[in-house]
Structures are given as structure tokens and as C-alpha cells.
Symmetry: C2
Subunit: 179 residues, 2 copies
């Protein structure tokens, strides 16, 4: 188990404050509200001062993506520990986490993974619980991940019909992928 931020040591204290404020802003008001000026405002400083701590806005967003990856990994690990081998519980944890942090989930997900800037091993760690639940079948794990990600983003972006029974679609997909 980690410190929950994954950035202690990698970032200065002030940089972590900035990331925390950025996260609040993003989660409360969406990606359009996450501007360098409003972020600085929330910290009681001016926008250019942010560049003493991060080279550009993208670097802040990468930090947010890393948080999301780390936290979702933790959520999956917790579920796997509580109910070993249950893909249903893993899926529930994934869905719950993503829908609790929709803006963060999309920010972290809808662009290339910044592997170079990520803590070593984080990507594998996030994938491991699902891979184990799939008995080491890499193809099945990837297919299941795609299914879960697809369900979550389609739901977040309101692509399903209003009256769609998403619980039933989840059940049906999981039953097929993990009989």
C-alpha cells in the first residue's frame, strides 16, 4: 500500500498543493474550468507563478493522470483482496471508481499514456488485478478491459439511450467474458 498520492518525493510540497487544487477544479467543474489562471486563483497566486513549479499545463495534467491510475489500481487491488478471483467485484470497483471521478477518468484516458512521466511499474500494477482474475490470459484481460472501459466512457458521455439498462449490459458482458 502506498501513500495514496504516489507523488510524495517525486514532487515538491508546493507542486503537490498545485496538483491537489487542479484536481478539485477538474472534478468540480470539468476540464474547461481547468485553466492556469483559475488554478492560480484558487491557490491565491498569479498564473505565471505556476511555471516555477511545472514546465507547462500538460505536466500538471500528467500528474492528475498518474493519480487516477494509482487510485484505480488501489481500488482494484482492494476488491481483489476482499473477494479473490471475482471478476464481478473487480468490474464493480472499476465502474464505481470511474463514475465517481468522471472528469479525472476521462482526462487520464482520452490521450496517449505518458509512459515516460509515469512512476515505474504503475501501468503494470494497474493491469495486474484484472490479469490475475483472467487466469493470466492476456487476450481475455485486454478484451475485458476494453469492455469495461467502453461501458464506462459510453455511460459518462451519455451515449447510451436514456432508458438503457446498463446494469444488465454489464452483467451480460461479464457473463460472456467470464463464464
Amino acid at each position: 500500500m502506498t501513500d495514496g498520492t504516489g507523488a510524495t518525493g517525486r514532487l515538491t510540497a508546493r507542486a503537490r498543493e498545485i496538483v491537489a487544487a487542479a484536481r478539485d477544479l477538474l472534478e468540480e467543474s470539468g476540464p474547461a474550468a481547468l485553466t492556469m489562471r483559475t488554478l492560480a486563483d484558487r491557490l491565491g497566486i498569479k498564473a505565471p507563478s505556476l511555471y516555477k513549479h511545472f514546465p507547462d499545463k500538460h505536466a500538471v495534467e500528467v500528474e492528475l493522470a498518474a493519480q487516477m491510475l494509482e487510485e484505480s489500481a488501489e481500488a482494484l487491488e482492494t476488491a481483489a483482496t476482499r473477494t479473490p478471483g471475482s471478476l464481478e467485484e473487480l468490474a464493480r470497483a472499476y465502474r464505481t471508481y470511474a463514475l465517481s471521478h468522471p472528469h479525472l477518468y476521462c482526462l487520464a484516458t482520452e490521450r496517449p499514456l505518458p509512459r515516460a512521466s509515469l512512476p515505474a511499474g504503475l501501468e503494470d500494477r494497474a493491469a495486474l488485478p484484472l490479469l490475475r482474475a483472467c487466469g493470466g490470459d492476456l487476450d481475455l484481460a485486454r478484451a475485458t478491459w476494453a469492455f469495461a472501459h467502453g461501458m464506462v466512457v459510453l455511460e459518462i458521455h451519455g451515449r447510451f439511450p436514456e432508458d438503457a439498462d446498463l446494469d444488465a449490459a454489464w452483467k451480460r458482458g461479464l457473463r460472456a467474458l467470464h463464464p
Copy 2:
């Protein structure tokens, strides 16, 4: 079969030229390159003139999303006609279309569906081939759609490991969902 644009009659000729230029710009250079100024440039006019034809940039993007929906529906219908009942061929058509137009696919997909501005019935039409291939099982169709969408967007955004065998993951997922 339609005219392939779906907008004849709904849009003026000039508006259709603008959408066509916007599409070229988007597909060639990505969403960041799609600005009102560069779009106007490509048409040999100035940015404010675009507002004589569309109320705002979003309206242009909605037109692009409608094109994507229409064309992917056509691709699926063609596949369903050529190889009736084959989910493999449907999936291949979906993947091929999305990967041939990645920026357009993401633009149309990574935001709420503008149902009010869409041609009537288009959403249902796009969903029908898959629903039929699933024997009318709505839950299975939605699960399969989520799987396919997840595979495509994760591939587009480079989220899978470099060496991942995506063909195998597609096969594995489809085999599970449609035994």
C-alpha cells in the same frame, strides 16, 4: 442508401463546403488544428464570415459527428449485407472504419451525443446491424458495442502496451461475446 453526406437539404451548399473543409482539416491534422481561423483560411475567407453559416464552432463539430455516425452506419450495413449474421465481419468493419478516421471517430464519440441536432433515426440506424447480429438481445448488443468501442479508443490513444496482440484480443472478446 443515402447520399453519403446525410446533410443535403438540411444544410446550404456553402455550409456543406465548410463542413467538408473542416473534416479535411480534422482528419489531416487532428482536433487542435481545427480552429475557426485555419478553417476559414482553407476556404479563402476570414474567420468571422463562418458565422454567417454556422452559429458557432460546436455546430460545425456536430455536423462532423453526424457524418461519422452516418458513415459508420453505412459501413456496418454493408458488412451485414455482404456476410449476414457474422459478428466477426461487423466488428472488422467497425474497427476498420474507426481506425481509418481516428480523429473523426474521437470527435464524434468523446462528448455527449447531440441527439437534438441529429437527423431523425440516425442513432437507431447506426445501432441496428449490431442488434440484429445479436439476435435482438439488447444487453448483448450494448456489451458488444462497449467492447468494440473500448478496443478502438484504447488503440487510438495508445493505451495498450506496444507489443500487445490486438487481433488476438479482438478474437478473444468476440469469441466470448458471440460463441
